[in-house]
Symmetry: C2
Subunit: 257 residues, 2 copies
């Protein structure tokens, strides 16, 4: 089967909330089509009609909004197992660009297929909806990051977020992970200029918090980074700790209906 991406997505969902076997099967049997991208490739352009949404199988993806004349704000990063365009499930066109930061494989699923599935299976609908709400929670924390924290802490917070999310999908080894981002991209993510990001990142290194080897990032003093940046992983909703159980209720309801 070609739906590794959807399997990974299901794994993400069930880390957070129960998902009965037949609902998983239903997701896995969604019609889909694989596609590969190279670093720098645009996956969804601004204004492009949004008829499909994609799930990341491997690689690294950014969503970025352009501000004339020449500013870019990265809104989110997506790693394997993430659903990328559920955010525009009900919109006709994308208002921001989605592109690959590294060689990336995604799987495309038509919106109608997802909506039909959601209409048939309230449990799936809730799981997907919940996933978009978790994404929204991350957007909010990014607003806080960019709006309130100083440069070094912004970077630390971003690294801790990526560390935590990559840890959940098994992509962290010995406190180190691959981060296929140029410093320009990092700067756009945390709302800093390239030069200032570079210098602040060096401060983080001098402070013993971070090491880099090529595109590998090693968090050598997570505790300090957490302390200074005020990072608290709750907003990521990676597990079920702060998530309501809904599958039972929905089973009952859909059985009644």
């Amino acid at each position: 089967m070609s739906n590794i991406a959807l399997s990974k997505y299901i794994e993400k969902l069930i880390r957070r909330s129960e998902l009965p076997h037949r609902d998983r099967e239903a997701i896995l049997s969604l019609p889909c089509r694989e596609q590969d991208y190279l670093a720098g490739d645009t996956i969804v352009g601004i204004g492009a009609p949004t008829t499909h949404c994609c799930f990341v199988e491997s690689g690294f993806v950014s969503r970025v909004k352009r501000v004339p004349p020449d500013l870019n704000q990265i809104l989110a990063f997506h790693i394997p197992g993430d659903g990328v365009d559920l955010q525009s499930l009900f919109f006709t066109a994308s208002d921001h660009k989605i592109y690959a930061n590294a060689p990336t494989r995604v799987v495309w699923v038509p919106h109608e297929a997802i909506l039909e599935l959601a209409a048939e299976r309230p449990v799936v609908a809730n799981a997907l909806w919940l996933d978009t709400l978790a994404d929204a929670s991350i957007f909010r924390e990014w607003t806080v990051n960019v709006g309130q924290r100083r440069a070094v802490d912004r970077i630390a917070h971003l690294f801790l977020e990526l560390y935590t999310r990559l840890l959940a999908i098994g992509a962290v080894h010995d406190e180190s992970f691959e981060l296929p981002l140029t410093q320009t991209a990092m700067a756009d993510a945390v709302g800093l200029s390239l030069v200032h990001l570079n210098k602040s990142l060096q401060l983080l290194k001098k402070d013993g918090c971070v090491q880099t080897k090529g595109r590998i990032v090693i968090l050598t003093d997570k505790a300090k980074m957490i302390r200074h940046s005020g990072f608290d992983s709750d907003y990521l909703y990676l597990d079920g700790k702060r998530v309501k159980a809904f599958s039972e209720d929905c089973e009952v309801v859909s059985a009644v209906a």
Copy 2:
């Protein structure tokens, strides 16, 4: 009937997408309970269990995240007709505070009732989901605002957003609207210090863009504000222009199922 808030919420939904009569009725017959707040009152505290979500009937509401030691980032404003806590529909506790900026009346609806309704009526589920996605779109634009724009433009952008949203609910008269915010709150919304917000706001006034009379804001040169801040109301998804029609599909599906 006491569900003026829900009527206003339905009006908001149908500005964006079709909602058959019986679905409207179903929303209107949700169990609910009114509550009034004074300016400054906390509506939902940090860590409070989220069992209900509320809809604003009148007044003005903020959601704010605190950053130790003493920083606050306002994440969103809510005006009459908005649903406030759909964002935590599936979460057990609130990770940020929600409070009233002015005397405010809301209507509380239990989460289970909403989830049951959504499970029974895919059209309603979609409309609510869409509403949370529209909110998420606003979160993203706020990230851009605090991350990329300069002080004066941030304020202009915020004013234009509120102008546009208030216009949609008929709360704008002669380019003026009531904005029951202290300058401290405005500063927390756009990621500026109080002092700098004050001075930047005065620049906006001197530039002929804005006038204030007490808590009334008058946009005297919207065109200039739009030009400088790059405001484009599309991200608000106030009408159906960029929203997919989904009610027919869902009708069919739910009839089949």
